[in-house]
């Protein structure tokens, strides 16, 4: 490994880290603004013009709050919990291709931290680790509400991961690769996967909502039943970490949805550009898609009420998984016969 590559990657990782945190921070602001607009209000507007300094004020508030660790809690696990949640939330971004390669003075920079050939599996692996943050936090709090929230979180995540994986298999079949870069490259121009695999896309998005614990699947932290769910006992910046991890997850899932189904950095009419221009426009388009999906997450949250627990499980096991399997079958049949029927 030469030094230039090492430098490239380090800088990219730092930028990504900053951008992710920045977007997660401003997602909290966006969430409140979107909620306000959807409810005919105007949202936070006191800190700075249009309230754009609100996240900073929130951050300062979080840091200044008194830190309370319950006497009966398992102290170490209680502290590790939010850390795991945050770590796993940040790790996923490593395999997402943020744009085409940029060339600066003959030196090619790859806008992806690691193009591993099992990118999708890596994402799934890290996402399933994410449940540990919630589970450990909820369990270590030694509080019934937290425990219930943690149990719900784990069962919900495990159930929906299955359907999510199944939905993806159809994409893998048509692309023939597990690398996210390959999948994105495959959707050149407007040949986005959502047009070829709408069912798979729908299942994936629904599961992504469940994985992120967003409404209508926010049962792990439903305020009306479980006080705060798994983070009932948390205060100060530990609570901040959990909330932050949720927004980071939202950002990353939006990125993954956009790259798997909505063409990533591809856009119609991209052949008119080339080189660095194309790369930069591509990245901008990619981020536009990501922001749309973040908005979509919020839009859904302020539209739909929460599912009941049995409805959640029924939807996952009896509807989404069979549908996903059906989708795999249909894709397989199509791929087998399309050559023979002369398409």
């Amino acid at each position: 490994m030469d030094l230039a590559l090492l430098l490239d990657k380090t800088i990219l990782i730092l930028i990504l880290f900053g951008v992710t945190l920045f977007i997660a921070m401003y997602s909290t602001y966006a969430e409140r603004k979107v909620a306000a607009f959807l409810q005919d209000r105007i949202g936070p507007d006191r800190a700075g013009p249009f309230g754009i300094l609100q996240p900073l004020a929130d951050g300062v508030k979080m840091f200044m709050k008194e830190e309370i660790i319950p006497n009966t809690a398992d102290k170490w696990l209680f502290i590790i919990g939010p850390g795991i949640a945050m770590c796993t939330a940040l790790m996923t971004s490593a395999v997402i291709p943020w744009g085409k390669n940029i060339t600066i003075g003959g030196h090619e920079i790859v806008l992806q931290v690691a193009d591993i050939n099992i990118g999708i599996l890596y994402v799934f692996g890290v996402v399933s680790l994410g449940v540990y943050g919630i589970m450990i936090g909820g369990w270590a709090s030694n509080n019934k509400f937290s425990l219930l929230g943690a149990i719900r979180a784990s069962s919900q995540m495990i159930s929906y991961e299955l359907a999510m994986g199944m939905a993806l298999i159809a994409i893998l079949m048509s692309t023939g690769s597990l690398s996210i870069r390959d999948i994105v490259e495959n959707q050149h121009g407007w040949h986005w996967n959502v047009l070829y695999q709408p069912l798979s896309c729908l299942i994936f998005i629904v599961c992504a909502f469940a994985e992120c614990n967003r409404t209508p699947f926010d049962l792990p932290e439903c305020e009306s039943e479980l006080v705060g769910g798994y983070h009932t006992e948390y205060s100060s910046m530990k609570l901040g970490f959990y909330l932050f991890a949720e927004y980071t997850n939202m950002f990353i899932s939006s990125a993954i949805i956009s790259s798997l189904y909505f063409g990533g950095y591809n856009f119609p009419g991209m052949d008119a550009f080339s080189g660095n221009t194309l790369a930069i426009i591509g990245t901008a388009v990619f981020f536009a898609k990501i922001f749309f999906f973040i908005f979509f997450f919020m839009w859904i949250r302020w539209t739909l009420p929460r599912f009941r627990y049995d409805q959640l499980m029924r939807l996952g096991w009896q509807v989404l998984i069979p549908l996903a399997i059906f989708n795999i079958l249909a894709t397989g049949t199509w791929m087998t016969f399309k050559g023979q029927l002369g398409f």
């Binding site: 607009f37 005919d40 209000r41 739909l304």
Partner: protein, 176 residues
Amino acid sequence: MQLTNRSKVVSNKQMTLAEKMYLPAILGGMWITIRHFFRKGATVRYPEVKREVSTVYRGKHVLKRDEQGRENCTACGLCAVACPAEAITMDAAERKKGEEHLYREEKYAAKYEINMLRCIFCGLCEEACPKQAIYLTPEFPAANYDRSNFIFGKDKLVEPIDKRIDVSLRKKVHTS
């Protein structure tokens, strides 16, 4: 037995397949919320913008003076008795010689306090007053960080002699 004509029959009917798909309902809901997104908010940005209130709005009180600038209140305590929130307290004092230009009656309120956090702005004090000394005005008691600052004394309540407050509309409310 039917008690009201608003009762609804609960139906436990199974959802049809279309309803079970959830999607049409979800899209319908999203359509409704996105329309609200572009609507003008109902928020009034207080304190920069004050919401318009009626001319006979019951807000902060004023202790009136008469035409010669003398305080009307005679510290009879009827307002305090009438007050359902027990927000009013006062200390009475006797008018000394030479104070006739300050107080209209022989007895006056040396101290007169209304706790604005207790007050419910019902206006019963002004109805009880036999001397037409206290009225409610359309002004809001300003927000504050300290609860003790909400106990308004005579300094805040008595109307300034050079800036008289017109309460004729409130007076009309009681005579009509």
